[in-house]
């Protein structure tokens, strides 16, 4: 099979994951793919992991974090997942908060983890940009604001970018790894500068605010048939809250926009790497191809593709399938089942790789790494280390 980029099939993972005998396909130990993945992360300041839900994106983000920490870098991994999966994967029973927590790992670098709190991040942004404490409080206590801070579509993606930028500037960290929201909008912050400040470009804002020579002015609701209609459907008080909010927001757009521009410059720079995560299932592949196209539209390259949960490729048996397999002898039947099982898994592995073909072509020449379906769930540091080893080879002793 011809594929773009290098292929690595991690060593077959069985039982304690420690078996390293050469029972898998020869490409298992292809050093070029390992090097390719390492090169993809070389000198990165930001790593963005994209992919649909359920492909092990959070775990992958944690594994990349572990790898960079073992290379001596100070890494913070940001997860957005409300289900606290990163906390699970990192074995943090207490869960994660908006403040980074340092993990105890045996490495020359450091590994920190944090969870995005959309509302708290938005609050921080309002406080930073408000000309006075009083104006900040007026916004923060507005009911409409409380509704949108967590719920407005796009807010989560925008705040993820904002949080990423803040952590990038934090002197405690060298690298920020971000696990994007599991939505198609995850990369919307790559659009034109104005759009990054999605919030300000929201149609409601445009509808309510009229540009005047002295800035923006809130429109008169009664004069706007559309607003009157909305008021009829949702109730006048809801609309009144919204208008009060935009009035309080007056004068803060410039600060928001400047910040948005800075975030986008970082995300478009060479210091930011995009890693696609997929699994060999049609819907996750479609989603990954969508992200690949989205990045290409913004003239950004995919740095690496990681395919999780793939069926391992087992070596071809050196013996021949017995011709007496139809025999009813117990021993022969057992051997026949072993052959059936081997062939079934081999056929699945081939089908999966064929299905991934277009995506692999899309991301060329980025390296492609295959992580076999593991025999147990990864929910602690030991599990992360094992995947790290599959992807990057044995840990180097740097100190």
């Amino acid at each position: 099979m011809t594929v773009a980029g290098d292929l690595v099939t991690g060593d077959l993972v069985t039982g304690d994951l420690a078996t390293n005998d050469r029972v898998t396909d020869d490409r298992a130990t292809d050093d070029r793919a390992t090097d390719g993945l390492a090169a993809a992360l070389d000198r990165a300041a930001v790593v963005v992991c994209c992919g649909s839900g359920g492909v092990g994106k959070t775990t992958t983000a944690a594994v990349l974090g572990l790898q960079l920490a073992e290379q001596g870098r100070r890494v913070v991994v940001v997860t957005i997942d409300p289900a606290k999966r990163l906390a699970d994967a990192l074995g943090l029973a207490g869960g994660l908060t908006n403040d980074p927590t340092q993990l105890e790992i045996d490495a020359t670098g450091e590994l920190w983890a944090t969870m995005l709190d959309t509302a708290a991040t938005f609050d921080g942004l309002v406080r930073t940009n408000a000309p006075s404490e009083e104006q900040a409080e007026r916004i923060l206590s507005n009911r409409f604001y409380r509704n949108i801070a967590g719920a407005l579509s796009g807010t989560q993606e925008y705040m993820a970018a904002e949080r990423l930028y803040a952590l990038h500037g934090d002197p405690r960290f060298d690298v920020v790894i971000v696990d994007t929201p599991p939505s198609r909008h995850a990369l919307d912050f790559l659009e034109a500068p104005g759009t990054l400040a999605r919030f300000l470009d929201h149609p409601l804002f445009k509808l309510l605010m009229m540009p005047t020579r002295r800035g923006l002015k809130v429109l008169n609701v009664a004069a706007q048939p559309v607003l009157r209609t909305i008021g009829k459907v949702v109730g006048g008080d809801v609309l009144a809250d919204a208008i009060a909010f935009f009035q309080a927001f007056d004068g803060m757009e410039t600060g928001f926009r400047d910040r948005a521009d800075a975030v986008m410059t970082l995300l478009r720079s060479d210091a930011t790497r995009y890693v696609l995560v997929a699994a060999p299932k049609r819907d996750t592949i479609d989603e990954a191809r969508y992200f690949a196209a989205r990045l290409a539209e913004s003239s950004l390259a995919v740095s690496a593709l990681i395919v999780n949960r793939s069926t391992p490729q087992f070596a071809t048996p050196t013996t021949q399938r017995s011709t007496t397999q139809r025999s009813t002898a117990k021993r022969d039947r057992a051997t026949a089942s072993l052959w059936d099982n081997h062939d079934e898994l081999a056929a699945t592995a081939v089908a999966e790789r064929a299905q991934l073909g277009d995506l692999v072509t899309d991301v060329a020449p980025a390296p492609v790494a295959w992580v076999p379906m593991l025999s147990s769930d990864v929910h602690d540091l030991t599990g992360l280390r094992q995947i790290r080893e599959l992807l990057f080879g044995p840990a180097t002793t740097t100190g």
Binding site: T14, V23, L152, G235, E344, T348
Partner: protein, 263 residues
């Protein structure tokens, strides 16, 4: 139907729809994402794609706001309405589902719902709106939806998972949240992709490649048994188990086979 991403929620929705149709029920399968997957998987069964913008437009039309609805849709301002009152897009979808349920045209309306985390927000939208919207047609709609959600004879939530640690943990969390916060009745739990079967015996001297493949399979089966046992301990709810299918892309025919296996 609710479950986290990657557990095969859409496939399971199609299988249950097919199984219900096979048993003689008039079934309507509904997707909420506007993607063609569910429609493809249920084959010739009645299917409806129901998205929030469409539901909202229809709602506005039903309330004598046809002209405005058209203008709103054209200018993309429907998003604005849902921003001004978060949850309004969810409530119009739930309202439409309620209308389908009440129509009497179907014995069972089976909905491929939003992903697990979202399912809670989605179903809580009715309650949330009652707090923010103090009058008008939306409030009436929210009250009707709440009545449907609270009646086990009319509405139940079926949670879907795969027999792996994190998905099982999330299913249990979601189950408690749905019962406590939404107050909706839980139907059976579906465990999808179960690889069951007897352990493969590896005799000494077996070809290493065959042995490795067998060991991989046995370990996965052991994991599945362990996780199903853990789920059984954590939730005293009936389980429907669907077998693991060796395929990387299911078709409507596979769905029929899986459904037949449930009988």
């Amino acid at each position: 139907m609710a479950g986290k991403g990657g557990v095969g929620k859409t496939t399971v929705t199609a299988v249950l729809a097919r199984a219900a149709a096979d048993s003689g029920l008039r079934v309507l399968a509904v997707d909420l994402d506007g993607k063609p997957t569910l429609g493809d998987l249920v084959g010739e069964l009645p299917h409806l794609s129901l998205t929030a913008p469409d539901a909202l437009a229809e709602y506005l039309e039903d309330h004598g706001l046809k002209r405005v609805a058209k203008r709103l849709a054209a200018s993309g301002i429907i998003d604005v309405v849902s921003t001004a009152a978060p949850g309004i897009d969810d409530i119009v979808v739930l309202g439409k589902l309620k209308q389908l349920e009440r129509s009497g045209d179907h014995d069972l309306v089976i909905v491929d719902g939003p992903a697990a985390g979202h399912a809670i927000t989605f179903l809580l939208s009715a309650r949330g709106l009652l707090d923010t919207v103090r009058g008008g047609p939306i409030r009436t709609q929210a009250l009707d939806v709440l009545e449907m959600l609270a009646d086990p004879a009319r509405c139940q939530v079926v949670l879907v998972t795969v027999p792996e640690t994190t998905p099982v943990n999330e299913l249990v969390e979601t189950a408690y949240a749905l019962e406590e916060r939404v107050g909706v009745q839980l139907g059976p739990v579906v465990v999808n992709g179960v690889d069951d079967g007897d352990d493969l015996e590896v005799a000494p001297g077996t070809d290493p490649a065959l042995a490795a493949a067998a060991e991989f399979r046995n370990t996965r089966r052991a994991l599945h048994r362990r996780e199903i046992a853990r789920l059984t301990d954590a939730l005293a709810i009936e389980q429907i188990r669907l077998p693991h299918v060796v395929s990387s892309g299911l078709t409507a025919d596979d769905v029929c086979i899986l459904a037949a296996g449930l009988r």
